[in-house]
């Protein structure tokens, strides 16, 4: 009898603990859980589960916006004032000072947006420059813009991403500096504790406005070793892991019983930026020769066809204004390897035997491996590329000091405007720009089109202008787009996300109130 009782207790214990989902990320520890600073994948994952935006990207599909904390919204005829009507009864997680939490109102929303717009309390302040926020009544908020913006440019700023996450005022003020490691929000899971260099524990928030989550909680583990992550997944100690973005790894895991590999978007663009101020790349014929030397197909083959999709414009096609390969071809800015043509162009530019370049690259495989492939391809026309491998942090510092003639960059940005402004507007030129950012090529010719597109309200007109801007950039061969690298996670087949996963801005398969373990 006693044995049966023990077995029953044990079984119940297993069943209860099985409802805590464990995710393992390729990270040593968290950095910050203040949503207005969180940028790394493992931090965004926690933030995504703890906070909400006024609107949200439909789970698993970033092409659709739907209500989140706001149940509806409208824009004034001049396009400058947006009004959001908040849901009633949205509860903030319990925290010291409000053990039952409290109801989220417009006061919190105004506070949060003001925080997001302040460079002292947010990394995304630039996104909200010139905006004013006002609480009309407890459930109505207005946002006034300095200039009208199209929905595709404005809604991401108030969505469940970066500065759009709503931070409850009283919790932030009560916790002060501790908020960054002890976040309080309104999402389906509430923060429980952080074990340094090991994990973060979250518990289901029973008062979540969409209903109590099916899971009892979530543990986010920091496991930098991929073999350990996969071993833990194989033994059932974790249910979801960040994978390796390599075809061989994907193929191996696909063969393992009980495991499923998810390859999903939006992915990150891989683009080679050619510094137009460094000799001999200051000669457009040389840049064109490089464009005709490098084979996109070969690069994609090396990365893995399951993981990489061809990219022919500098804005990917999953965003409004993205340029497809057919469109690039129609506009005469589609480059594919033609070595005879490349050699002829080099000879025309006075370099029949090629030349030498030297460039830094980060040790990270997703950058280093394609760069080594580029090195091998360039050698076919006599261009000797010396690669200097450094750590990731140093790489980012060095390329921002304008030391590289070629910059291979992996990036995700939430809109065509963000891609074009930050990589191709003259204000963003590294070191010398008005607001130095990531314009590594020093191109200036696309400024007018980028600015016109930003001001356009008609979606079709705006998209056309973004495509025109890309045509200018590609015609100058300032940047060579190669592919979009998708994200890879592996999971137990017991894990059901509760939605169809196609693409996600959180850069991990979002876990929400519908997620369950079978």
């Amino acid at each position: 009898m006693k044995r049966w009782v023990c077995l029953a207790v044990f079984t119940l214990g297993v069943a209860a603990s099985a409802q805590v989902l464990k995710i393992a990320f390729d990270a040593a520890d968290l950095r910050t859980l203040d949503p207005h600073y969180a940028s790394a994948t493992m931090d965004r994952a926690v933030v995504d589960m703890v906070f909400n935006g006024l609107v949200r990207y439909k789970p698993g599909d970033i092409t659709v916006f739907e209500p989140d904390l706001a149940e509806r919204w409208e824009v004034s005829p001049d396009g400058k004032t947006w009004t959001f009507y908040l849901r009633k009864g949205v509860r903030v997680h319990p925290f010291t000072g409000a053990l039952d939490g409290y109801e989220l109102t417009s006061e919190d929303v105004v506070f949060s947006l003001t925080k997001a717009a302040d460079s002292k309390t947010s990394a995304y302040a630039g996104e909200y420059a010139g905006m004013t926020f006002a609480a009309v009544d407890p459930y109505t908020v207005t946002i006034t813009l300095p200039q009208a913006l199209s929905p595709s440019l404005f809604l991401p700023k108030v969505a469940d991403y970066a500065g759009g996450f709503i931070v409850p005022k009283r919790a932030y003020e009560a916790l002060g500096e501790k908020f960054a490691t002890n976040p309080v929000g309104t999402g389906p899971f509430r923060f429980v504790r952080h074990v340094p260099a090991q994990k973060v524990e979250l518990a289901a928030f029973a008062g979540y406005f969409r209903g109590k989550p099916k899971l009892a909680g979530v543990e986010v583990w920091y496991m930098p070793d991929v073999t350990a992550r996969l071993s833990a997944l194989a033994t059932g100690e974790v249910h979801l892991i960040e994978g390796v973005r390599e075809q061989a790894w994907v193929d191996t895991v696909k063969r393992m019983r009980g495991l499923v590999v998810d390859v999903f978007g939006p992915g990150e663009t891989h683009i080679l930026h050619l510094n137009m101020t460094k000799s001999p790349l200051d000669n457009p014929i040389i840049r064109e020769a490089i464009a005709y030397t490098l084979s996109r197909t070969e690069l994609i083959q090396a990365i893995g066809p399951d993981l990489a999709e061809p990219l022919c414009g500098v804005v990917p096609t999953y965003l409004a204004g993205g340029l497809s390969c057919d469109e690039a071809q129609a506009r005469g800015v589609f480059y594919e390897a033609d070595l005879a043509k490349a050699r002829a162009l080099l000879a025309q530019a006075g370099y029949p035997d090629g030349f030498s370049l030297s460039a830094y690259i980060t040790e990270r495989a997703s950058y280093r491996k394609p760069f080594e492939n580029i090195q091998a391809q360039l050698a076919r026309v006599g261009i000797k590329l010396e690669i200097k491998v450094t750590d990731h942090s140093s790489f980012h510092s060095l390329i921002r000091q304008d030391v590289n003639p070629l910059v291979h960059y992996e990036a995700w940005r939430p809109s065509a405007d963000a891609f074009l402004t930050r990589f191709y507007h003259s204000a963003s030129i590294v070191v010398t720009g008005a607001k130095p950012d990531t314009n590594f090529s020093h191109i200036t010719e696309a400024d007018a089109l980028i600015e016109q597109a930003r001001a356009a309200l008609e979606p079709a007109v705006q998209a056309a202008l973004w495509k025109d801007a890309q045509e200018v950039i590609l015609r100058r061969a300032a940047a060579l787009p190669f592919y979009v690298l998708k994200f890879v996670f592996a999971r137990s087949d017991r894990l059901d996300y509760g939605y169809e996963l196609k693409s996600t801005l959180a850069l991990y398969p979002p876990i929400n109130e519908l997620t369950s373990l079978k």
Binding site: A24, A28, D29, L30, R31, T32, Y37, S39, A40, S119, K120, S122, A123, Y124, A125, G126, A162, E177, A180, T181, V195, P196, A197, Q198, K199, W221, Y222, M223, P224, D225, T227, A228, S231, A232, A234, T235, E237, V238, T390, D391, H392, S393, S394, H396, S397, L398, R400, A411, W412, R413, R422, K435, P436, D437, T438
Partner: protein
């Protein structure tokens, strides 16, 4: 002995100051920016500038240097530039795990290494000697991360005896012990190799001494000669190796901590280095230097225990 200990502590102060100064300067010379590391590449240059200001990185170097030093004098290790968590809190949370792993590794090394060393010395140039030396050579050659993965695949994935990840809570000793076994074996097998080789060579030297011959001539049993007379004298260099390796193990445990997803000082240090978390890194290096000083002191004091002829005046 009290004055000896005090003298050693006073001598350690310049060493700690030198460690702080060197790491303070070197990490700032290296390219990389903690603000960029904290914010990620998506953040604008304006946001990076604002964060650098908030982090105090725009202050003159001498001000930053003095700020750190004053903090240490007041017992404050500062706050992480990246997470804002007090470094003292972070260290306090992981140091018990690091010390536990290090001492468990040492224990495995001593418990396996000394008997193996004795066996290989006594059975010199015979099969047990060859096997023991081969084991020692293998232990010295295999990297910790590789050995750790092999142990995980064998004992966690295949046999399911031990968990793959985590350290378990100290409040649950059984779970804590289960989490400790494989990491301790990983470090311990490597440590065993050092101890075996040192014990063997020290014992072989001692066994050639005249007092050993005298003991045998008196008709003492071989076991008594080895364990009571020879081994005790052979242990002094072994203690030295164990002491120096204890300090090395704390640093070396980083790969074991990563493979087994254990919190630990080494892992925190590597993370601080990658993220250019200047404050965390310099504080942890100073702390690590302090630990080395303490371990060396304890090792020196242990000589006196092993050999009573050694006095500390």
């Amino acid at each position: 002995m009290g004055s000896y200990v005090l003298r050693r502590i006073l001598v350690a102060i310049p060493a700690l100051l030198a460690a702080y100064t060197l790491v303070f300067l070197f990490i700032r010379v290296a390219p990389g920016d903690p603000a960029v590391a904290a914010l990620g590449d998506y953040a604008s240059a304006e946001a990076v500038r604002a964060l650098r200001e908030r982090m105090g990185l725009n202050d003159p170097l001498i001000v930053q240097y003095g700020r750190g030093l004053l903090g240490y004098l007041g017992g404050d290790l500062g706050r992480s530039l990246i997470t804002g968590i007090p470094i003292g809190t972070q260290v306090a949370s992981v140091l018990p795990h690091t010390l536990q792993l290090t001492f468990a590794g040492l224990l495995v090394g001593i418990l396996l290494g000394i008997p193996t060393g004795v066996l290989t010395a006594v059975k010199r140039n015979r099969l047990p000697d060859y096997l023991g030396r081969t084991f020692a050579l293998a232990g010295l050659s295999v990297p910790a991360f590789y050995l750790g993965i092999l142990l995980i695949l064998a004992f966690s994935v295949r046999l399911r005896w031990f968990p793959v990840m985590g350290s378990g809570e100290f409040s649950d000793p059984w779970a804590n012990l289960r989490h400790l076994v494989l990491p301790a074996l990983t470090l311990g097998i490597i440590m065993t190799a050092f101890v075996t080789r040192m014990t063997r060579s020290a014992l072989l030297n001692v066994l050639r001494e005249e007092y050993v011959r005298s003991a045998r001539a008196k008709g003492l049993r071989e076991r008594t000669v080895i364990y009571l007379h020879a081994l005790r004298n052979a242990l002094i260099p072994v203690v030295a190796v164990v002491g120096s390796q204890a300090a090395v193990l704390i640093g070396d445990s980083v790969m074991t901590e990563i493979v087994f997803t254990r919190p630990g000082l080494g892992r925190l240090m590597v993370q601080a280095m990658n993220q250019r978390d200047y404050i965390a890194l310099q504080s942890m290096i100073v702390l690590y230097a302090g630990l080395v000083v303490v371990i060396n002191l304890v090792t020196d004091l242990l000589y006196g225990v092993v050999d009573p002829r050694i006095r500390y005046d």
